[in-house]
Point group: C2
Chain length 418, copies 2
């Protein structure tokens, strides 16, 4: 089955927003076993949308359209699809009642005719004979229209409305069309470069049929999605298990998770909780970003109580007890300073683990001996301090972002050893 | 003049990467005064790319293609464009010498035939009669092919190569074709919602012709790009000036910058430097993200030396001197605590300004009285402390991100008053 995407919206053509919808939908279609050969973006323009939709319907089985379902004159996706399918727009009673209820609640006591404009009623119209998809996060419903074995799926443009609607209504629809279930596992790796990771399993990737193994690029990490097509969930899981096992054989502890939504910081928090430890942070070049990542995890209080942003040498001495001699002799960006920062953060806070980052993020401040990108990360777990030196490539943002990821990963590895 | 984009790459169709190239190029084309009606993404497939390119060349004057210029068999954009234009591929001596030089340097002493594969030489081929665009950040050059008043511009896929090449070679080319210069200014606003900001200047937006005013959505901020088409730079600047002045009349201090690349944190750093002040931070729910944003600014040391991440009540008392009574009576998320955090951060660090954030980022921890999204931000500048209460909407990430922006903005406003 072949699916095609049409993103509708002049704001996309003006570069006002990035088309993350196309990315999300492409990923999902691949996971569901659909082939996708074209993504098209077109403005809120009846003639051009009609022309594009016609050629898409000719070459693909299913066309997913996002955007252009709002109440304004500009929004015309529903109207244009109806014309291409040769169908009428008719009042959808459920949508009409919902809109009525909304305005009754909002403008209590006023006659409806005074407060509901013609534009508002537009959102209660559906394409004759279509399925209406509820929108729990906005006012525009979605629609699925079928005709002669082809289908058009109309979804709202804002990702906060589109994604939940797709997950609730469109995935089951696409699964049932496909007559197969697709079970997948996301193998997430940190601490190995992308090309090294791919080379390590190139034999598996080349002989893949079912399950498939697809690499996903991600800053500082490598993710492999293992997907099996099967008749049912149980069979799918059975197909995936040996491949995931094989990846564990090859990558071992470099794999930090195989769960879709689990982040590196969530894994660190889980390990801290399991080992009954707390962590403190001491950050120089990352300036709070590593702590900020830890606090991404809901309920992290109790595991992470305090952190120090010690950008100046004075702050490193005052709060972390880094020795003046250490700073003078080895510099603020050194193995010795990173070690004393980690020890000092734990001592000051009373935490049982600590992570410390000091480095040169640039663009200024590099020397031949200590170039931009040189970062030392100190990690204390229990009584053991590990310091690792990194030489990172990229601009200031990139170096700091990678420092955060490698810092969290170093802590994860320290915790695993306990 | 009408331009059209074709992004080539199977990784886009699989949802492996987000198409930020299309966003960047669309923005630039709009700024340069080109109309853009279609963005198309197609895989590394000769037949489909050829079909798409043919229809794009029919309806548009210029087609910009990104991706598919690498050395592998999969990369076929150059070959396919040559076929559609009916041109041969010929050896480009400059590119050939560059590749030779690269391999001579890398594999010193080995005969070239041993180390350079046929694939490598592929990157030295150009379309007969085309312009070759140097790539300073990678191995694949770009190309511009012209025929019968139409043009195809071929650029590499990685943004780190594409963007510098576009800026160095393609912008001058497009400007000269257009016979106009486009001068623009980005008016950046913080502290007013998007729809309020648009409503405030709807009369200007509706009567716009030259300059144009285009709103850009951005989390927690509103940006308006003012663009004038003119015969020369001076005339363009003269056209823009009164519109920017009018926006200042309407938005006043809510405008934090009118410079393209200037961030909110850079403006804060500039004001601190101007007023000869230093700032310290105290963060609870944002957990270091605000400090992390400040450290985005290169050369921030001297202005920002230290910060406290005080996630627990104990840390708030220990480092910031927040009174136990305050925490008991008003709670950690309160105006009083935010005030004491700001005062405490300044006192402990000796900084002349401080910013403190405490709030409920969710998803747990909200009550009817203190719901998720309630955030207090305390700001000390000189001897004056301001505390503002915010009630933010969104998930944990969104609430924390907005808290950071509003915190920086509160500091900016405090500094402006001095």
């Amino acid at each position: 089955m072949v699916v095609e995407l049409i993103s509708v919206g002049t704001e996309l053509l003006l570069g006002n927003i990035v088309n993350t919808n196309a990315n999300f939908l492409s990923q999902k279609c691949a996971e569901l076993g659909y082939s996708l050969y074209y993504q098209i973006t077109v403005g809120d323009n009846d003639g051009r949308l009609r022309e594009v939709l016609k050629s898409s319907m000719e070459r693909s089985d299913i066309v997913i359209l996002t955007g252009g379902l709002g109440p304004t004159q500009d929004d015309m996706t529903k109207e244009t699809v109806a014309k291409v399918f040769g169908k009428e727009l008719v009042m959808d009673e459920v949508s009409r009642e919902r809109i009525e209820g909304y305005f009754k609640f909002r403008f209590k006591g006023n006659p409806l005719d005074d407060v509901v404009t013609q534009n508002n009623w537009k959102q209660a119209l559906k394409i004759d004979g279509c399925m209406v998809l509820d929108n729990d996060n906005g006012t525009a419903p979605g629609y699925i229209v079928e005709e002669n074995g082809k289908a058009a799926i109309l979804l709202p443009g804002p990702p906060s409305e589109m994604i939940p609607m797709f997950e609730a209504h469109v995935i089951p629809y696409l699964q049932q069309k496909q007559n197969k279930v697709f079970i997948s596992s996301m193998v997430k790796i940190c601490g190995i470069g992308e090309s090294k990771a791919e080379t390590d399993i190139i034999d598996l990737i080349e002989k893949q049929t079912n399950p498939t193994i697809a690499p996903y690029a991600k800053s500082g990490e490598v993710h492999f999605r293992v997907t099996a097509a099967a008749d049912n969930e149980e069979e799918g899981k059975k197909l995936i298990a040996p491949v995931v096992d094989e990846l564990y054989q090859r990558f071992g502890n470099n794999i930090y998770s195989t769960e879709e939504g689990e982040t590196l910081e969530a894994v660190v928090a889980k390990l801290l909780r399991q080992k009954n430890l707390t962590v403190a942070t001491a950050e120089s070049c990352t300036g709070g970003l590593l702590s900020g990542r830890l606090v991404n995890v809901p309920g992290v209080s109790g595991l992470f109580n305090e952190g120090f942003i010690t950008y100046s040498n004075e702050a490193k001495m005052k709060y972390l007890g880094v020795k003046e001699e250490t700073l003078r002799k080895y510099g603020a960006v050194s193995e010795q300073t990173a070690r004393e920062m980690a020890l000092g953060a734990a001592a000051a806070s009373g935490a049982s683990a600590a992570i410390a980052v000091t480095g040169i993020a640039g663009p200024e401040g590099g020397t031949q001996e200590k170039p931009v990108g040189l970062v030392y990360i100190g990690c204390l777990v229990g009584s053991e301090v590990t310091v690792r030196e990194f030489r990172l490539k990229g601009n200031r943002q990139k170096i700091r972002e990678l420092s955060v990821i490698y810092g969290l990963d170093l802590l994860r590895r320290g915790l695993l050893k306990l």
